[in-house]
């Protein structure tokens, strides 16, 4: 019952489905969070200065924000449902704890973002300018809050706290809600996710503004947007990196195997060197490797000669504690996703830094090479976000709840044919959505913001949709 054509199991189908749907969902969510805040900032600037350039930018990026928001919403419902559909044993094990943040997310965050976004879209000219401005801020706050609850839920899976195991039902039972929402893993992960979401929005705004500046469209508007974005890129890239670094140190104590696998560090080492790049096998004899002495120890422990634990030692420890079996995640995935994420983060910081320097020289709008570089970097945050989550989720394997529940025993007891059907179905639908969505985004992003006369700017459309 549990294998399909070619021996494919429900488990592997369910894992692929979760991976595909989640990575897809999270392509759009960070942009929603980041761009929502930036649109609120642009609209506030217009509200304060009455400079029509800010109004144009609010409308221009607001449109892209809405198209992107829609896809995040519809793919989000799948996320909530598939815990029960594909991972029913996980759901009944964690429901006492994991369910609460999901329910609270709906009540506190989703109602707020959807309701106030409705007011923002349809309320222009129907509510006062002040209420209209408030509505985008509250919608943005809703998106920011929603990330808090889902990251809290995920952090509990990475580092379970505030619980006990019921001796009869073998379910995880919440004993301390406060511990769950102040989980040290959550605090850092939420900061990292939030900063990277703002970074995503900022790079997106910078890249599109740069494209228009290069084409000579609306210098006043896109110039302003680019400058706000440059400052935001620098600020959020620093925040993302700083928190990511703190997470690495936390990971060394909470999930040392993830750290060891990320470095392909087979044996524990003092003053461990950081492998920058590897060609060939990651295990025994790489063909070519660049290593920076001591840096891994600094990264993981904040000390020059700190001890970093190796895969072999950790595997032995884990099998003594949890029983026989492999406790090593897929090393090459971790090694490369980690490097891609960090590398792109640094590159984005360089982008922001270069932009800041040009801004100081008052040459930002007239630097074609920078503008071209900025436009291409539009893909970077999306790749970094995806690799970051792939890293953190694959790195937790074989556990779904670290140290408590293995992924292999979390999957629903259902025929693989069901999961295969929905896997093919969702993948097909999502591919279609991606084509439609990205095509539309590119089309909308290329149309320069129309310069509106005062009466046009104040007109209220009778039918918005």
């Amino acid at each position: 019952m549990n294998t399909f054509i070619g021996g494919i199991s429900t488990l592997s189908l369910a894992r692929w489905q979760f991976g595909i749907t989640t990575v897809f969902h999270f392509l759009f969510v960070p942009l929603t969070i980041g761009l929502g805040l930036l649109v609120a900032v642009l609209q506030t600037a217009f509200y304060k200065t009455k400079d029509p350039a800010y109004d144009r930018m609010t409308r221009f990026f607001g449109k892209l924000f809405l198209v992107n928001f829609a896809i995040g919403v519809v793919t989000g419902i799948v996320q909530e449902f598939q815990f029960g559909m594909d991972w029913s044993r996980y759901s009944s094990f964690v429901g006492n704890i994991f369910g609460a943040p999901l329910a609270i997310e709906g009540l506190l965050a989703f109602f707020m973002e959807s309701t106030f976004l409705g007011i923002w879209i349809f309320g222009r000219g129907r509510v006062s300018d002040r209420v209209h401005l408030w509505s985008i801020w509250l919608a943005s706050l809703g998106t920011i809050l929603s990330a808090a609850f889902i990251v809290a839920a995920n952090s509990w899976m990475q580092h379970p706290v505030g619980f006990t195991i019921d001796p009869v039902s073998h379910q995880a039972i919440m004993t301390n809600f406060w511990a769950v929402v102040t989980n040290s893993t959550f605090v850092l992960a939420y900061g990292h996710v939030l900063f990277s979401a703002f970074l995503t929005g900022s790079v997106f705004m910078l890249a599109i503004s740069a494209w228009h500046l290069r084409k000579g469209n609306d210098f006043a508007g896109f110039g302003k947007a680019a400058k706000i974005a440059v400052v935001a890129v620098v600020f959020t890239a620093v925040g993302t990196m700083f928190l990511g670094d703190s997470q690495a140190k936390q990971m060394e104590t909470q999930q040392p195997m993830k750290m060891a696998a990320a470095e392909a560090l087979y044996n524990s080492a003092d003053g461990a060197s950081f492998s920058l790049l590897t060609i060939g096998d990651l295990d025994d004899k790489p063909i070519f490797q660049v290593r920076v002495p001591h840096i891994l120890s600094v990264l993981a422990t904040n000390t020059w000669n700190g001890k970093v634990q190796g895969i072999n030692q950790l595997q032995k420890e884990a099998s003594a504690k949890y029983g026989a079996g492999s406790y090593v995640p897929v090393i090459w995935v971790l090694y490369w996703t980690f490097r891609i994420m960090v590398g792109l983060g640094i590159l984005l910081f360089v982008l922001g830094g270069a932009g800041l320097w040009l801004m100081r020289k008052k040459r930002l709008e007239q630097s074609p090479r920078f503008l071209r570089f900025a436009s291409w970097m539009v893909l970077a945050p999306f790749i970094a976000n995806s690799t970051g989550w792939i890293f953190t989720e694959i790195g937790r394997q074989p556990w779904v709840v670290y140290g408590l529940l293995k992924t292999s025993t979390a999957v629903s007891v259902i025929a693989p044919g069901y999961v295969a059907t929905s896997l093919i179905g969702f993948t097909g639908i999502y591919t279609l959505l991606a084509v439609v969505e990205i095509g539309l985004m590119i089309r909308l992003a290329k149309v320069p913001s129309p310069i509106l006369s005062e009466s046009e700017a104040q007109s209220v459309p009778e039918l918005v949709y």
Binding site: G76, F81, F83, G84, V413, L433, L444, L463
Partner: protein, 351 residues
């Protein structure tokens, strides 16, 4: 609520069964008319402008209405993990179809107006099927909860997809489909103007008797089989009688142009209908058609007391805010939606 919290542990579980019922009621009342509006769109519109009028009646609110589903789902996960786990894995293919429908429908609202006529035509299909299919599937699912599914002793569902679509469940699906469509028709009567309003009224007055027959048959079936299933929550059958009575009055309300009352009327019918099913289900949450020993009960599937307490406080503190600002949006957009250039009037003036 404070009083309830200090009572025996079972009190909280009943409370959460009641709260989840309220979340489903909110969802079916609100997204019920969204589904109805989407299902009716091809039938009340003569041209593209009409279709835009139809979509704009629910434009500012549909997404907030759908959050009731997310919250109901999340609350079920948190308060009744076993119910959530069993139903969601057991109703796998039905949920997949539901999700696909909701995805296309949700995208359609944002996408439809951003392209040419051909593009819009595709999204119109998504709006129709994405509204009609969920309206049908929800009734099927809730009927299955009541009449039972082949739930085995290990908590898994036996049988196949076809065990979920037996005649009783299909009649349940037809009931919600017709009810939601009628609810959408009275909503359009209240919120749209011009031709759309007229056509919606005409459909409502013709659809109401048909809906009455379907719902009467379904509730009658539910009632007649309740005793043999030891489901006594329906006795005395006050709620279904009230619901059917109001449903009988809807045609007349529409005919008399009491548009506000007609909409409230279809809302009451939905509330009575869903509450009837939930009361009939009580004290179970999912009935096993294989053996009563396998039936999932409220107490047997609930989370521990502490989780329910935390959730109760959160609900107590934050629900009022949600209700206030969500109601406020209906107030902001109280104007009827009309074709550009046509004079419009306030809904409030004839509600």
């Amino acid at each position: 609520m404070l009083g309830l919290m200090s009572t025996s542990p079972s009190g909280l579980e009943q409370l959460w069964f009641a709260l989840i019922t309220v979340l489903w009621l909110g969802y079916f009342f609100l997204e019920g008319f969204d589904f109805g509006v989407g299902t009716l769109m091809p039938f009340v519109s003569k041209d593209d402008l009409d279709r835009r009028v139809v979509i704009n009646t629910i434009g500012p609110v549909w997404d907030g209405n759908e959050v009731w589903l997310l919250t109901a789902g999340g609350a079920t996960f948190a308060a009744f993990p076993l119910w959530y786990a069993t139903v969601f894995s057991g109703f796998y293919l039905a949920l997949f179809v539901l999700l696909a429908a909701l995805i296309f429908r949700g995208m359609a609202f944002e996408m439809r107006h951003r392209g040419d006529a051909k593009w819009a035509k595709w999204w119109d299909q998504a709006i129709f099927w994405g509204s009609a299919l969920p309206a049908l599937l929800w009734g099927v699912a809730f009927a299955d909860f009541v009449h039972g599914v082949p739930l085995l002793a290990n908590g898994q569902l036996g049988g196949t997809f076809f065990d979920l679509v037996k005649p009783y469940a299909l009649l349940g699906g037809l009931s919600t489909l017709s009810l939601f469509t009628l609810h959408g028709a009275t909503y359009l009567g209240l919120k749209a103007d011009g031709g759309v309003r007229e056509r919606a009224q005409a459909i409502a007055s013709r659809l109401a008797p048909l809906t009455f027959v379907i719902v009467f048959a379904f509730l009658g079936w539910t009632y007649l089989t309740a005793h043999s299933r030891h489901q006594t929550g329906l006795v005395p059958p006050l709620l279904p009688i009230v619901g059917l009575g109001v449903l009988a009055a809807v045609s007349w309300l529409v005919h008399e142009r009491l548009e506000g009352w007609a909409f409230i009327g279809t809302g009451i019918v939905i509330v009575a209908f869903v509450t009837t099913l939930m009361l009939n289900l009580y004290p179970n949450v999912l009935v096993s058609s294989v053996s009563t020993a396998n039936t999932l009960t409220i107490v047997g599937s609930a989370s521990h007391r502490y989780t329910l307490e935390v959730m109760s406080w959160v609900a107590l503190i934050f629900t009022p805010f949600v209700l206030v600002y969500q109601s406020w949006t209906y107030w902001i957009f109280k104007k009827r939606v009309s074709r550009p250039g046509a004079p419009s009037e306030n809904v409030a003036s004839n509600a």
